[in-house]
């Protein structure tokens, strides 16, 4: 029983990290209509920025995470301006290729600049908390709490502010958005900035437990991609639900089957869900 609870909490931790990355991916998909394959690599750069802020400049963990968020917001906007904006009216296949190119560029740059070593963000919250017989490090609780706070903040931003709702408006009807006077360029930049901040937050939260290395982006983008397919492309609730489904099945699958089958379980879930609901759990209607 304890093992079950323990693994459920681990699954929630994993789901929280996936969720922050998948939310950004789904937001960008909503306005660009192409998945940003480089999104996982923004997560990777976010991890490195936090790591270097702490180790090179000796900054506090939270200050480092905030700086990382700011740096990533700028990087996200640059990516939109330099790579995706010039392609706005190009066919989807061109945008696909551009996204893959950006992904390779970021990973190769990380290898050249920082080497291929595995690094770890110094853990400062590694005390063990015992709750009802379950042993957890504080960092895991911080991950879950941090993700929940960011999800609520994102929800309030999109649903209850005029600026935030432009992202949703643009995703639902691009012509309609243009005709009420929403500036398409501004929304695109805003969306990339928000999505990049979420990715960097995920990396800063995950860094002390998981490792920081140039290839970490490729791994998580696969998962995030599976999640938004499960949840329905472009759907925000779908991304949240999909993340926790994946996090929990991976964690429980690894425990009760074999950790070798961890990823098999994840993809089996994908196949299962898609065979029942081919357009994802929260598919958008006709747009």
């Amino acid at each position: 029983m304890n093992l079950l609870i323990q693994q459920t909490v681990n699954g929630l931790t994993l789901g929280s990290i996936y969720c922050l990355v998948a939310l950004g991916l789904t937001l960008i998909y909503g306005i660009m209509e192409v998945p940003n394959f480089a999104h996982g690599h923004l997560y990777m750069v976010g991890g490195y920025v936090t790591f270097f802020m702490m180790t090179l400049y000796g900054l506090n963990y939270w200050v480092s995470a905030i700086i990382s968020g700011i740096v990533l917001a700028v990087l996200g906007v640059l990516l939109e301006r330099l790579v995706f904006n010039p392609m706005r009216n190009s066919p989807s296949s061109n945008k696909f290729i551009a996204a893959v190119g950006a992904m390779m560029f970021l990973e190769a740059s990380a290898r050249v600049l920082w080497g291929s070593d595995f690094r770890s963000i110094p853990a400062i919250y590694d005390n063990v908390v015992v709750m009802g017989g379950v042993r957890l490090t504080e960092q895991r609780l911080i991950i879950i709490a941090g993700a929940v706070i960011l999800m609520v903040a994102l929800y309030v931003f999109i649903k209850h502010t005029m600026i935030g709702s432009t992202i949703e408006a643009m995703a639902q009807n691009r012509d309609g958005a243009s005709l009420v006077g929403i500036d398409v360029n501004r929304v695109a930049m805003l969306t990339f900035a928000v999505a990049s901040i979420l990715a960097s937050a995920a990396a800063s939260l995950a860094g002390p437990i998981f490792l920081v290395y140039p290839g970490m982006g490729s791994l998580i983008i696969m998962k995030a991609f599976v999640i938004i397919v499960i949840g329905g492309m472009g759907s925000i609730p779908g991304a949240v639900l999909g993340s926790f489904i994946l996090g929990l099945t991976e964690s429980l699958g690894a425990t009760y089957l074999s950790s070798n089958y961890k990823d098999v379980v994840a993809f089996a879930i994908l196949v299962l869900i898609l065979s029942i609901k081919p357009s994802g759990l929260f598919a958008k209607g006709a747009r």
Binding site: E168, D175, G176, G181, G285
Partner: protein, 237 residues
């Protein structure tokens, strides 16, 4: 107020509008008649900046607008209600209306007034303000789309085929509302196939065929014209 001079618009190599000249004066209600594919929507999209001209110019209040992005055109005071409505269908009606006021988002008082005005014009929208726009009936969606276009407090409102797919009684209601809007001082440019009603409420009209203006004049004169009758009203000999 609005002046289109010799505009040509193309989709690839297909010329959708050829040498179109239109002028709309302040306070007028002008109708643009034309069958499917005549170029009405193309013309409206061009005015709103969604499409660019290959030659000619669009001027609004003396300012050239054909190089401006759509949001600048809206800021200048032209609001469009697209054919097909282009609502944010997964958002509540009220949110759609509030987004219509996006260009004047800092004018809280003005937004409140416009919202009250839209609710007075279309009381059903008030009842449905928390319903998702996509769940409304066709007529209600059309009202929401017109309401949204009014929320920016435009000087000129472009309405692209508001009667399409609606029951006759609803069409009448929509046309009445547009007449009220015009009488309240807004300039209206309406694209329609339903010439019978459109010519009743409007002051002047243009007839668009295959991307060219083939006829223009006062509405009562157009309504009496045999060719117009045959083509758009469906009364022959």
């Amino acid at each position: 107020m609005l002046k289109l001079s010799g505009i040509n618009v193309a989709y690839g190599s297909y010329l959708a509008l050829q040498d179109v000249n239109i002028e709309v004066n302040k306070g007028e209600f002008v109708v643009l008649l034309g069958a499917n594919g005549a170029g009405k929507s193309t013309l409206f999209r061009t005015i709103s900046g969604l499409l660019k001209v290959i030659s000619g110019s669009v001027e609004f209040k003396g300012q050239k607008t054909n190089q401006l992005p759509s949001f600048k055109v809206v800021e200048l005071g032209i609001s469009q209600c697209l054919e097909g409505r282009a609502l944010f269908s997964h958002m509540p009606v009220k949110q759609n209306l509030l987004l219509g006021a996006y260009v004047r988002r800092h004018d809280k008082e003005g937004i409140k007034k416009s919202l009250a005005m839209v609710y007075e014009l279309f009381p059903t929208l008030k009842d449905k303000e928390n319903a998702l726009a996509g769940s409304l009936s066709g007529g209600q969606q059309q009202m929401a789309a017109i309401g949204r276009a009014l929320m920016s407090d435009p000087e000129l409102i472009l309405l692209d085929e508001p009667s399409i797919g609606l029951a006759p009684i609803v069409v009448q209601q929509v046309f009445d509302a547009m007449k009220i809007v015009n009488e309240a001082g807004k300039t209206v440019l309406l694209a329609e196939q339903n010439a019978h009603l459109a010519l009743k409420v409007s002051h002047r009209g243009y007839v668009l065929e295959n991307g060219r203006i083939v006829m223009e004049g006062r509405s009562d004169m157009l309504a009496g014209n045999e060719d117009v009758k045959k083509a758009y009203i469906g009364v022959s000999d």
